[in-house]
Amino acid sequence: MDLKEKLLSSFIAFENQISMDSSLVSNLREEAIKIFEDEGFPTKKNEDWKYTTLNKVIKEDFSVFANTENSIEYKDVQPYFIHDIDSYKIIFVDGKYASHLSQTTHEGIDVCLMSAALNKPKYQAVIENYFNKIASKNGLNALNTAFCQEGAYIHIKKNKLAERPVQIIHFSTGKEPALLLQPRNLIVVDENAHVQIIERHQSLTENPTLTNSVTEIFADKRAIIDYYKVQNDKSEASLIDNTFIEQHQESNVAVHTFSFGGKLTRNNLNFYQKGERIDSTLKGVTIIGNKQHVDHNTLVHHIEPNCEIHQDYKGIFGDSAVGVFNGKVVVEKEAQKTNAFQANNNLLVNDKATINTKPQLEIFADDVKCSHGCTIGQLDENAMFYLRARGIPAKEARALLMYAFANNVLESVKIPQLKKRINKLIAKKLGVNIGFDL
């Protein structure tokens, strides 16, 4: 039985099990499973999936639900936390909430669980207003909507500041031979409120996992959201991250995506700007090797005037790794004075590595500033000569230049401990070990 069939037949059993859902949610699930039944998993025929195929990933016999109870100790997984900061934590193990690793709150802000939000009446108004509103209705998102049970629910109320960052980590233990995870996050940041979020998906073994995650984020007027995605997973872990962001007037949302590993990683990152003077930042560093595959598919949709985007993705591809960048920017007729900057720079460090990069600008307004540039190249020979002439051997010089190429994306990371950690990850990934003050 292929995965699609398995999922469809699992849904019937699942429906009985989750009778707790409100009628709103169960109706959405019914609707969603039909979409998935019609569309299934995307194939290469779909233009957005031209360079990324899921065939090798979905051939595994995934468990749709983890049956075993797992307890992991904090000391075993501490390295995956940014542990030198005070933070709220919403931690899941094999798709189930791990209270002993978590730290939630309801004091002025809600940092808690999706399962609670879906079931408890006090959250019903927010769920009705925001749940499944901006996630596109395609097969993968629908699949998540049909099956999702758990994830992070974050609601920062008007004028509130989440004083500590929120860490959302999904661990998979490998107790199941192969596991499918479908986390669902909802983040609502009211007017003039502020939150920082770090999200990570982490497998702890070499057993295959596939995560099909959906995150919906709403930034009301003047809200500020800093979102960091850390993707440095095991060789058999694959991730499809579907993130949808709706921004209102003068809000500022930045998403940084650090993709350093995993079997296949697909980031669908979508920004919808619904208001004036909105600022959106999309940045990413991808450093992969072996046969790893990372695909960034981004969309920024400008509807109203005087908005900005800053997009900067850097990639370093070694061995037989494959990278894909598809950056779509749509500027509607009304969105005059849009200022859009897009850059995608790539280094190929092996003849067998591949990058497919495609900027896609659709501009219907006539008074806008849009710039974009894609580069694919090797390291600058003059810079190599300069470093070597100072006594830095070729191998180290190459690593240092790659490090320098990647790490200037980090300038906009606002959590210093996270910045330091990512810097170290980059250095480690590139084999730079030369006594840095990071």
């Binding site: 100072r390 006594g391 006594g435």
Partner: protein, 251 residues
């Protein structure tokens, strides 16, 4: 210290150096002057080991050892330093991280441990003071957005940190105002000992007012066509390079 014997070098099958002989002893300052396109920067690159140039003939002895087959970094480890005419901008690597890496890699090549942090800091403090470099400057990305003067001062700061045996200053005076020129020259002079040597490559005599050479050589069309003492620099300044060109063409 440096003995260059009948060096012929080419790039992309075009001959640039056509038989250069040069002998530099410890404690000496040599200047190479010459019109644009005469091969001055090529000579600097060839000594430093830039692989774009092919050595067709001749040898380069450094402290008695032929270094013409050594890699760029191996020559640096032996004590050859090239101050670049156009230092490369490297965003993302700070001046401090860069020089620490360079110094420790050089030590590693000599079988030494990394320099202890306290000693490193002390040296950085001393040498940055020598070149009147602000602490804040050291945490900036290497050469990124530096003015011409800052770039050259930073080159000499690196030289001060690495303490080479032979320093080649390639057009170090270009892009410098008079104050920066004085600071840079003063740095070079303070670093001068009886055991090291300096090769100044320049188009103009101006720098030689501050870094006074023992010998001046005139490079023209890939050959040293005239050598003399420091007074040769003044003569060139006065008469211009046409004088040399004429003399050479008459021969």
């Amino acid at each position: 210290m440096l003995e260059i014997k009948n060096i012929h070098a080419q790039i992309d099958e075009k001959s640039i150096l056509k038989g250069i002989n040069l002998d530099i002893k410890p404690g000496e300052v040599h200047a190479i002057m010459g019109p644009n396109g005469s091969g001055k920067s090529t000579l600097a690159s060839v000594i430093a080991g830039k692989e774009d140039y092919e050595i067709e003939k001749g040898s380069i002895l450094f402290n008695g050892e032929d270094i013409s087959e050594l890699s760029v970094e191996e020559r640096a480890h032996q004590g050859v330093f090239l101050s670049f005419q156009y230092p490369v901008e490297i965003p993302g690597v700070t001046v401090t991280n860069f020089i620490k890496t360079a110094l420790n890699e050089t030590r590693k090549a000599k079988g030494l441990e990394d320099m202890p942090a306290s000693e490193m800091l002390k040296r950085i403090r001393e040498k940055s003071e020598l070149l009147e470099i602000d602490r804040k400057f050291l945490s900036r990305s290497l050469n990124e957005g530096f003015s011409g003067g800052e770039k050259k001062r930073n080159e000499i700061f690196q030289m001060a940190m690495l303490e080479p045996k032979l320093a080649i200053l390639d057009e170090t005076d270009s892009g410098l105002d008079i104050d920066a020129l004085r600071i840079v020259a003063n740095g070079v002079n303070k670093l001068k000992t009886k055991d090291n040597a300096v090769l100044v490559i320049t188009h103009y005599q101006r720098l030689l007012d501050y870094i006074v050479p023992d010998y001046v050589h005139v490079l023209y069309d890939g050959k040293i066509v005239k050598s003399g003492g420091k007074e040769l620099a003044f003569e060139l300044e006065e008469k211009g390079y046409d004088w040399i060109k004429k003399e050479v063409n008459q021969d």
